[in-house]
Amino acid sequence: MLAAKIISQLQKIAGKEAVLTAKEDLNAYSYDSTATWAHLPDVVVLPTTTEQVSQILKLANESKIPVTPRGAGTNLSGGSIPIKGGIVLCTTRMNKILDINKTNLTATVEPGVVLQDFNIALAKEGLFYPPDPQSFLGCTIGGTVAENAGGPYCLKYGVTKQYVIGLEVVLADGYIMKLGGVTVKNRTGYELMMLFTGSEGTLGIITKIILRLVPLPPASKTMMAVFDDMAVGGQAVSNILASGVVPAKVEFVDNFIIRRIEEMTPMGLPVDAKALLLLLADGSPAAVEAESAQIVDILKKSGAKEVKVAKDANEAAMYWKMRSAGFAATFGAAHTVMAEDVAVPRDKLAEFIRKLDEISQRTGFFISYLGHAGDGNLHPSIFTDIRNKEEFARAQKAMEEIFDTALSLGGVLSGEHGIGLEKQRFLKRAMDPVALDIMKKVKGMLDPNNILNPGKIWEEEA
């Protein structure tokens, strides 16, 4: 419990109506989109200006109160859960698009702008912001920067960090720092912006973001390929990339997810397919024609049982909606779903899939997966029940094997979700110990009182 004095100071800073203390409201800020983590904050504050954020942090820093930054809470790492209580600083009301500059191909936004709202506004100007975590309907841009999020489009267009060219960040002591600017090139000192991009809210609170944009591709084509064997599908992806074509997206769903989605929203999917690849070619109409023909050809030669090209925008939208519903489909499947986010080098995808099969057989756990086949980023899920201690322990063990396998293939622990709470117990084996030590020192320097999102990324020493 925080002292009443702190609450009234927060109210003075942000306004009475922007400070939530009712138990019912605190409950609503105790979770994110992960299955197992939850912790109540003591208070939720919804600032509307950078100045307010600065004053809140100053107060928290002086009183050593934990501050957990939160956007829309759609994250999949436990990152926005106030695991130490204290203040949840929620940026959803800082949601103004401050500038869209069509000639400079940049935009300036507040952190609470919802990704989909942003892209709707950009589309009106013929512009496009590609990084597309599949929570785009809910997630805030601030959250995607703090998590350095990625999504299907990142295969061709790159992840969030490739678009951030300027930031305004409030430091733990309340200082408002400006980094970068509105130029695409900027070689002024260390790239400190990248320190905050992907910092998971542990180093500062992002209050303004300048993003690079691209022109909206005038044409696109969606293709769907059916495979009898997941590994063959994985190989087909490698073959496409090796042929010199980089599709905008190459996504992957397995038989389990196909069936679950068809159950929830019947759309005529091939429910007996072992795996589906969804691909998108985009660009000028001529390039899209040529590339999609080449992709279809390689898919067939690589052993696809069936290849379909979406006739129109509606059919295409239906396939992509299926993909974005994929996570929800797995989350409903069992009491506890451990959904992971490993990434392997793209040429190791087929091998990784085969090894996942072996793990599944050896441990007896069914493993479902979907993900971004084009960039080797898969989301394997293990279905279990946290209430059954013995089974849950075995499931965790199986998940460990998945991590180890990915790492042994030259992969990483998390492709796009971040470490948060969910993956911190594996961090040590996935990172150079000196690099980990430097991270902790950076944290200690920027946030000496450890108030910013404490308890995240690495395990605390007992």
């Binding site: 138990k23 019912e24 409950n27 609503a28 919804l46 809910g138 409903g332």
Partner: protein
Amino acid sequence: MAEAKKDRYEQVKRFEGDLSQCMKCGFCTFWCPVYQEERIESSVARGKNMMIRGLLAGELDYTKEYADRLNKCTLCMTCTANCPAKANIPNVIVAARADTVKARGLKFPYNIIYRWLLPRRTLFGNVVRFASWFQGIFLPKTEGTIRHLSMFLSALGKGRNIPQIAPRFLRQMVPVVNKPLAGVDTKMRVGYFTGCMTDFVLPELGKHIIDFLARNGVEVVVPRGQGCCGAPVFLGAGDFDTGRKMADTNVRAFAGLDYVVTDCATCTSALKDYAKFLADTPERREAYTRFGEKVKDISQFLVDVLKLPASAYQPSAEARGKKVTWHDPCHLGRHLGITSQPRQIIKSIPDVQYVEMPNADRCCGMAGTFSIYYYDLAKQIADKKVEAIKSTGADIVVSSCPGCEIQLIDSIVRNKVPVKVMHIMELLA
């Protein structure tokens, strides 16, 4: 003790499937009209559902705040329509409202209005009439209009610029049985559910609908025994006991009729919801289900049941030569899936130009009780609707829900937009 505990969550337990269906993805934040204004988690389906789970887990209680967060939902169903897991959280919310009323009771003046006044149609009419004498004294001083007739008394205090209470109610204007005109064959005999708004405020609309049906070979019965549909009572306030009394009254009033035709989307969907929420015995389930199947929205009845030819739809004097746009009431579109029938009717009218508005199915923010409790919020939601209407350049916006119409009139007047609000049947001669 165990029994008492179960009772505390009786209604919510019936919707446990919906309750557990939410995966917390948060996509509903994009669609929820309330969240879009407030941007706090307790406004949206995910947050409310988690709050109800918190209650079941014993972490929360039936507090004033709990009741408030539950009430702050328009039941527009946009979350469910767009949910990847198709989780019907509005079901859970209505059920949770019912459990909350059981646990906390209804507060004044709602207890008087819901339990005592609304179930008594004649008395209710007299009170409305009595209140109308004071309309001129209390109301025009502030902007805005009354939200729902059932809220009339409490709303008086807040002061609103409401449509006039009719000098004569519909039940005083028309006989029980309205036969087709001489020379027109009687194709069908249907009951007409008038709803409070049409009865007390828009009797001319009711008269017009009866005449239109009679001209097209339908004998229209207006049972005197019918009452309020109960939407504000059981859906809005969660008072299932009183709701059941009202349901029984209406089922009895329309016994022996093949169809129950309505002109109000909210009434239509509430009448059809009796079985889902109010059936506490096998007999009631059976009776409510059969009753619900008989209920038809007017546009659905004209297009799907009566199957009128396009030539039956001739423009009224007010509609002739006008540009018309359609607002989908949530209770018609998402609740009942009726979206093509009204559009088909409007498009069939000669000398009327139809124009689709952007996001025609977006909630107008009325939602009965909701807009009494949260008037400012309801206004903000409505302002987005007004922008959409403005962008069409239409002369007339039509709907099929007097509730929506009141909200549209209020917001259009407040925003000084020169657009007329009409019921779809008023487009027809």
